[in-house]
Homo-oligomer: 326 residues x 2
Amino acid sequence: MHILITGAAGFLGQRLVARLLERGELQGHAIQRLTLIDQIEPPSSDSDTVEIYRHAVDIAEPGALGDVLDARPHVIYHLAAVVSSAAEADLDLGMEVNFDATCELLEGCRTRGLTTTRLVMASSVAAYGGDLPAVLDDMTALQPQNSYGTQKAMCELLINDYSRRGLIDGCVLRLPTIIVRPGRPNAAASSFASSILREPLNGEDAICPVATDLAMFVMSPARVIEALVHGAEVPGEALAPFRAFMLPGITVTVAEMLEALRQVAGEQALARVRHERDPRIEAIVASWPARFDIRRARELGFAGDRSLDEIVAAFLAENAPARTGA
Amino acid sequence: MHILITGAAGFLGQRLVARLLERGELQGHAIQRLTLIDQIEPPSSDSDTVEIYRHAVDIAEPGALGDVLDARPHVIYHLAAVVSSAAEADLDLGMEVNFDATCELLEGCRTRGLTTTRLVMASSVAAYGGDLPAVLDDMTALQPQNSYGTQKAMCELLINDYSRRGLIDGCVLRLPTIIVRPGRPNAAASSFASSILREPLNGEDAICPVATDLAMFVMSPARVIEALVHGAEVPGEALAPFRAFMLPGITVTVAEMLEALRQVAGEQALARVRHERDPRIEAIVASWPARFDIRRARELGFAGDRSLDEIVAAFLAENAPARTGA
């Protein structure tokens, strides 16, 4: 089992590598080789049993993936992307990295006859937009209101068509908002959703820029990684007629997130969240759908978090050593 | 007013040219120039007031549209396409003509700053597919089960994004099945829908390859041309948040089509239709959605045929001279 991962130096990429090395197998076959690529060389990982190749590659360069595809990977995780704010700021960059590079990857697989290679790609809730119903389902149209979502929706269509034609075996997972992300707050509009939990749990202050009745569709990092693993294993026949769908996030309000924080860390932690509404952030985040009927993903065996408390507890468990300064 | 039409030698292109010359104006401005391009040089049209340029151009060639875009057309009708059977038979050809050429057209407009140029493109009912609801509406997902529909759906997304960014002023019309097409039967799966009316009305035999309870979503050529004209005139602001939608066809069963034939041309004409079921054609045509809630198109001022009888009467009126052999 040879696995290729693009975007392997990113937050999800690094966690996926760790999880795959921990499992040691995928699709019932021992993992023998991991090829990790990203703009910068992905960090090294230790393994006695798996050959790990790490490459700094600009996937937007024509032919950039030729060598790694020549090695005929059995599973490709295509996680590399320009994020939404960057794709909005620079249309050409977004198109090159988010769309053209995916076309190039698909053509690379096609010319090499990698018809049974499972391509798992990450899409996004940002692909939804427009006059959405109160609860979305698997037949809700993608009418993205941003270039990132547009590029992802185009990739979904193309991967589905290549799969339908038997040229590749694709599976595209639309990711909910991921909480709790590790690290520091960033410029993403959704950054606060992790920040209002992470910072107080680490004894720091945070700002909540939205009304507390705002609802979001969220998933923990651990469940997203599980979904990526399952995305490589779900049978291709089960994925027809359309190979892209929303993962089973859970709907939570900001008020529920703050209450979960209070329950695990007390009033003192809650008091660290300052409420300063930011209309710019509210406008963006409120346009993201928060309620889905995710029947399809459940039928395909994808699992979501059981509760917000579970998400918070998982973050605490993972980050406990760092917090005690051990 | 300078209008560029790609696919101008096609069935719709030729009728659109005739209609525009008849009107003499578009968007309230006198038409001064028509640039007609197609793979073969479009047929000549007479006009005392409009300069007509005709060019044989392969729009899939990079830069092929440079000269005509340099002339800064105010309205572009992008009708050129590889049809569904050809796009299914040759993925590269379909991608080049149906998708890449549209990208090139959009980029050509962008680099020339044609931000107020209205781009009217034809999409198709073939963009729908998958597990469709009984009645589709404007928020039904596009999950095409053919490469032609995939390529059209990708163009819709891109034209919407370029329009949202203010780079072009796009409007994409999803066309129902067009009846009654003039000419001879062809290899298209939908060919019978025109054939079972046209041939008996011309005193010839026709084959009906499907069950008579099959429903289809149809529109007359005249109404499609009206919609293309209106597509150039509907205000851009009204087209947000998504610039592609289904035109207001009408739902008719094959039985209703045969009854309309009987009413205008009698039992003798009806007897010219031989019923020979063809499972291959039935499978394709039955997968096309036949029932739509087309609220959006109606709100935007697009009009459909009032009845099947009207469609048949219009065909008879148009083709009367030819049939009498005058």
